[in-house]
Symmetry: C2
Subunit: 145 residues, 2 copies
Amino acid sequence: MAYPTQITTDQLDAAALTFDLLSVPGRLHLVWLLGTGELDVTTLAQSTGASIPATSQQLAKLRAAGVVAARRDGRRQLYRVEDPHILVVIEQMFGHIGGDGTITPDPGQARPPRRPRFADVADVAEVVEREDQQGRPELSRPGPS
Amino acid sequence: MAYPTQITTDQLDAAALTFDLLSVPGRLHLVWLLGTGELDVTTLAQSTGASIPATSQQLAKLRAAGVVAARRDGRRQLYRVEDPHILVVIEQMFGHIGGDGTITPDPGQARPPRRPRFADVADVAEVVEREDQQGRPELSRPGPS
DNA sequence: CATTCAACCAGTTGCGCAAATGAAAGAAGC
DNA sequence: GCTTCTTTCATTTGCGCAACTGGTTGAATG
């Protein structure tokens, strides 16, 4: 994939619009959480620490943009990532940002994203409850409901 | 590069902040234009169609974020991309958006970005003057000053 | 002459709160 | 056993507010 040598305003706008969706930490967090599987609104709200309505609104925007999609499961609404390509972009971005939020050098070949050197637990993006699990701190995502 | 299984709030914020820089078409355009080499403010302003002050301001933000850097050349200020990694992200994004601004499917392997089927000239992101050059419409970027 | 700074305006955005909607589960009646 | 009403829960929507953002204009700087 060579660097594009020509773009249209439409492309520019579309790209900017998509970037905009990811420009809010909370929303980015949502997409990231949905990166592995379906999750319902309540769980997402808990995970991000945002209120339910706020979460719903963000999800609505993401859904309107076609980034995520929802499906009903009983009373709950399960959201999932509908446009996987965006995950590639996010992955790309996170791959170059250290756990401390610093931009890692190395432009060309992304070295295996060095495991964020055990950040303080409190520093980790709140994921569900702080399950006091031991072993590998895989305290990242909520398990499938 | 595996999809990250753990992130910190700092990472989230940093990523969102960077995405935010790319969320404005004009600013994204600037970074894109600088993707190949140094350009001065005036040229950039012409290329994007924005005013000089506006361009300068956007560049200032990009510079503050470390995305671009500037160097003086006589009267002009030549900007360049300082953080190449961001180009990868942009490239990634554009690689999945058609000339008409549509999101192209195919998440995994990006097929060779199908040449934007000769978009109407007026539709092409204004690049410098509409140089009526013929042959391959390489009317994309301003030549090195 | 090229660029930046400063002040101002217009438009947008995200969030919290309260109310409304939609769907499932249980209770009551026929 | 099958409808119908009621309660309950998950999610969504409307509204107001505070904060932020980008652009323009005009002056200042190098």
